[in-house]
């Protein structure tokens, strides 16, 4: 009986998020619609961005090479040429909005709208422009190989935790350059997890952000668990960035009996040298999660932001290295 009640509550919650999503539909104005936007079986990427002209060229190149068929992008009032660049891409479908990022639950409601309109029965990848998605064998097998394999195993969601990348010493990153050439290091072994009962997700925290910006309030450190790749269906909703989904079974991207389920990572390239300026600007806008607590922590601690590297940091080599370290797993995909 309790189970049934809980089930019903979650269902109501999911419906509420669906309504919220629909309400925010009016924010979006479609600018362009790519040819492949309705391609059956296409692999689609969804993203919200604002003023990302420096990262954008590499972002598009990277995901094209993985085999993304169409980009669905919400441009939240860019002023640096991002809009123009996106408009000129044949494989980008672009929406524009000047509405509040915060009120759309940090972009989630916008993305949910596009997912429902275009993503139904497609493999959908939801990433930020500073997240580079990697998975086992990504150098030799395109995204389609992964999704085909997941289809075969009746797996419909794929987790990829955030790994914050940082430089050994601040180095500038040119427009269009692979940010990983600059952000070469990461924390290899300081992540902890808790399993939450309500949504059955693993709440993962740790990494350099907890280490440097939340040493005295570790609970406030950002969540690193993400489920960015989902075989989407109309009744699904993201409810907190890509950390959480409903129905909650989609969050169960892990094994409970000792085995390892296949998983990848999002290499997080947020910490380029412009992060300090960005943090100041984002604080002024006040459009971010938890009253922009994260950006507050950055601006409170500029020394740490400039020196995230420590003698125990690990230099990134390849996915096999992450597999060995136990951050990702091939989970049966040989």
């Amino acid at each position: 009986m309790r189970k049934l009640l809980q089930h019903y509550r979650l269902r109501l919650l999911r419906k509420r998020w669906q309504v919220r999503t629909i309400v925010r539909k009016k924010d979006l104005t479609n600018l362009t619609l790519g040819e492949a936007a309705r391609k059956p079986g296409g692999i689609f990427l969804f993203s919200t961005m604002r003023n990302e002209i420096a990262r954008l060229p590499y972002f598009l190149e990277y995901y094209r090479s993985l085999g993304v068929d169409q980009f669905f992008i919400v441009d939240n009032g860019s002023t640096d040429g991002t809009t123009e660049l996106l408009k000129a891409q044949p494989d980008v479908s672009l929406w524009h909005t000047k509405a509040s990022y915060r009120r759309s639950k940090f972009g989630v409601l916008w993305i949910n709208n596009l997912l429902n309109a275009y993503g139904h029965k497609h493999w959908c990848l939801v990433v930020d422009v500073d997240e580079l998605f990697i998975y086992p064998h990504h150098k030799t097998r395109p995204l389609r190989a992964l999704t085909d394999w997941l289809d075969l195993g009746l797996i419909s969601s794929f987790s990829a935790m955030l790994i914050d990348m940082y430089a050994k010493a601040p180095t500038p990153c040119a427009e269009g350059q692979n940010p990983l050439e600059v952000l070469t290091h990461f924390d290899s072994g300081n992540y902890t997890q808790r399993r939450n009962i309500r949504f059955t997700e693993l709440w993962i925290q740790g990494g350099p952000r907890q280490r440097l910006f939340f040493p005295n309030a570790p609970a406030k450190a950002p969540a690193l668990n993400k489920t960015p790749l989902v075989f989407w269906r109309k009744h699904y909703v993201y409810i907190s960035s890509t950390h959480l989904l409903l129905p909650r079974s989609l969050n169960q991207t892990y094994e409970r009996e000792g085995g390892e389920k296949i998983c990848g990572a999002l290499l997080h390239t947020k910490f380029l040298p412009d992060i300090a300026d960005r943090a100041r600007e984002e604080l002024k806008r006040g459009e971010h999660y938890a009253n922009s607590a994260e950006y507050l922590a950055y601006s409170d601690n500029p020394e740490a932001l400039a020196q995230m590297w420590s003698a125990q940091s690990t230099e990134y080599v390849d996915w096999q290295q992450l597999e060995r370290l136990g951050l990702i797993s091939t989970g049966g995909w040989a």
Binding site: M161, N190, P208, R211, T253, S329, A334
Partner: protein, 551 residues
């Protein structure tokens, strides 16, 4: 002489067409069955591409469903077409549209030429060694399977359950012994003709129609009736994971495949361009098979499968969250309780004599000491005490995971972190060395004169220690308990025990003993507490051997 290829095509018709062209140009005869489910437009494009080729024929299309007799019907149709239309074939090889030849075809033809009386078919007696991964075995024959596994899964399961309850046991037709094996066989024309012209063929068909996955048992069983010389081995390499899901080949397997001990591989991922180009290349050359390379390939599969099934001990990550009751840490580790109250500079001593880093202040409450301790840690763990204590179990698991190549060893005071103490007591990987009543030394050094307060504190310590020792006793950790008297009287023996338990054990000769921390007046102190009515466990009462003064 030629060889017939019976090809079942279900999807990826472009890839199948490539394969047909390749087989045909090597001089093989090909009979193709295309699943009725395939769209008409796709089928006709495929047909137009390969039908004009000489020696390529099509059978009528039927609707195929995995696990059911329709697949056998398709196999029979292609085989029949081949033996009827080509008099000069020695063998018929069963293939699917997603198979690829991993060795050049001329090599296969040569191989079969010298074995023209041998049937290559995996055919294993049912009830013997487990051939099947995840599923029914003998019951495949003894129960009825009228429902579709794919479309009506619940009905399928319920029906199996119901028949088990009823104790239903179908009898095999006379003269057949149930055998099972891979459906990718290569049979001689003689055996096939015998199977096709068997007077009881209709009767067998009726029986196998109600069997589960008959394409893995029909030919495998009948070949035992008609075959002359059976090699129970498939010429096609295929592998299934523990869910019964076929493994796929990708471009990055290209350097391995030609070394596999087979002539075909299954299945190839449709997007594996490099693999298709290489294996269907016109002027294909292959190096001799190297079993070492094949072994490396098998090992990589076993590794991946073990990741999925077993995972890595002690690893907690996004894809692995075992229940804490099936606790496992990455490796054995050593927990020292009380040693830091007895010995001075034990860490440098241990470093010198064993090369092992003793993490003295891993659980320290003191900020400075802890920061000092974290400098020796790997993986950027433990940047602050708050982070450490925020998820102490997680911190411990990370510490052991990151240091599993070393010898994880640390000082630990169970009173400071009771929940962690419980965790350790339940872990079979923990080796606990506990000096009983070592907390007395702290009180002794305090030199407090408040007798009532002292007694209360001693009692509190005693109770906590008692509870901890009981938990250790009941738990799974490996525990050694020493008394204070033992440690002060025979420190060499105690340390010897400790060092012997380490992986990096060294010879015990000529090892000096690290200095004690001050413990003057301990007997006197102990006597006073004892006289005050406290039942302390120090062993001093029976072996008061050291050189103190009684009052």
């Amino acid at each position: 002489m030629s060889v017939g290829m019976a090809l079942l095509v279900h999807h990826e018709l472009d890839r199948a067409a490539q394969l047909v062209v390749h087989l045909q140009s090597a001089g093989c005869k090909v009979a193709i069955h295309v699943d009725e489910k395939v769209k008409e437009s796709e089928y006709s494009a495929f047909y137009q591409k390969v039908a004009p080729l000489e020696g390529v024929d099509f059978t009528p299309r039927i609707h195929c469903e995995w696990g059911r007799f329709s697949l056998v019907e398709a196999q029979l149709a292609t085989a029949e077409l081949l033996v009827k239309s080509h008099a000069d074939i020695s063998h018929v090889i069963q293939l699917s549209g997603s198979c690829l030849p991993n060795r050049p075809l001329p090599e296969l033809l040569d191989f079969l030429k010298s074995r023209n009386d041998t049937d290559f078919i995996e055919s294993v007696l049912v009830g013997g060694v487990n051939w099947i991964k995840g599923g029914l075995e003998a019951e495949r024959f003894s129960l009825y399977f009228p429902f579709s596994f794919i479309k009506h899964r619940r009905l399928f399961d319920a029906h199996v359950w119901f028949q088990r309850k009823l104790g239903i046991k179908r009898k095999l037709p006379e003269g057949l012994t149930p055998h099972i094996g891979s459906q990718w066989w290569a049979l001689t024309k003689r055996t096939l003709v015998a199977i096709l012209n068997d007077p009881d063929r209709e009767k067998y068909a009726t029986f196998f129609k109600h069997c589960w996955i008959p394409d893995e048992s029909y030919f495998q069983t009948l070949v035992r009736k008609h075959g002359k010389r059976i090699k129970s081995r498939s010429l096609t390499y295929s592998r299934f994971d523990f869910h019964g899901k076929p493994m796929l080949f990708y471009d990055d397997h290209a350097r391995f495949v030609e070394h596999l001990d087979s002539f075909f591989i299954r299945k190839t991922w449709q997007g594996a361009n490099e693999l298709y180009d290489k294996l269907l290349g016109e002027t294909r050359q292959a190096k001799p098979r190297d079993p070492v390379i094949a072994a490396a390939f098998h090992a990589s599969f076993e590794k991946a499968e073990s990741r999925w099934l077993k995972g890595r001990d002690g690893l907690f990550m996004q894809g692995r969250a075992p229940r804490l009751t099936d606790l496992n840490t990455a490796t054995t580790y050593t927990v020292l309780t009380g040693f830091d109250r007895v010995f001075n500079n034990l860490a440098p001593w241990m470093q010198k004599h064993t090369g092992v880093v003793l993490h003295e202040n891993l659980w320290s409450k003191n900020k400075k000491q802890f920061e000092e301790a974290t400098r020796k840690l790997k993986g950027n763990i433990g940047s602050s005490r708050r982070i450490r204590d925020y998820n102490a179990e997680g911190f411990l698991l990370n510490f052991i995971w990151n240091h599993s190549d070393d010898e994880p060893i640390f000082n630990f005071d169970p009173e400071v972190s009771p929940s962690l103490a419980k965790f350790i007591s339940l872990d079979p990987n923990a080796r606990v060395f506990h000096i009983r009543s070592a907390w007395l030394l702290d009180l002794l050094r305090e030199k407090s004169n408040d007798k009532a307060d002292l007694i209360a504190r001693v009692q509190a310590h005693m109770l906590k220690e008692q509870a901890h020792l009981e938990a250790l006793e009941a738990g799974k950790a490996n525990v050694q308990i020493f008394s204070l008297a033992e440690v002060f009287n025979q420190p060499g023996a105690v340390l010897e025990d400790l060092i012997l338990a380490l992986r990096a054990r060294r010879s015990s000769e000529n090892r000096e003993i690290p200095a004690f921390l001050p413990y003057d007046g301990i007997e006197d102190y102990f006597e006073r507490l004892k006289d005050a009515g406290l039942n302390l466990h120090t062993d001093f009462e029976t072996s008061l051997l050291f050189t103190g003064q009684n009052t």
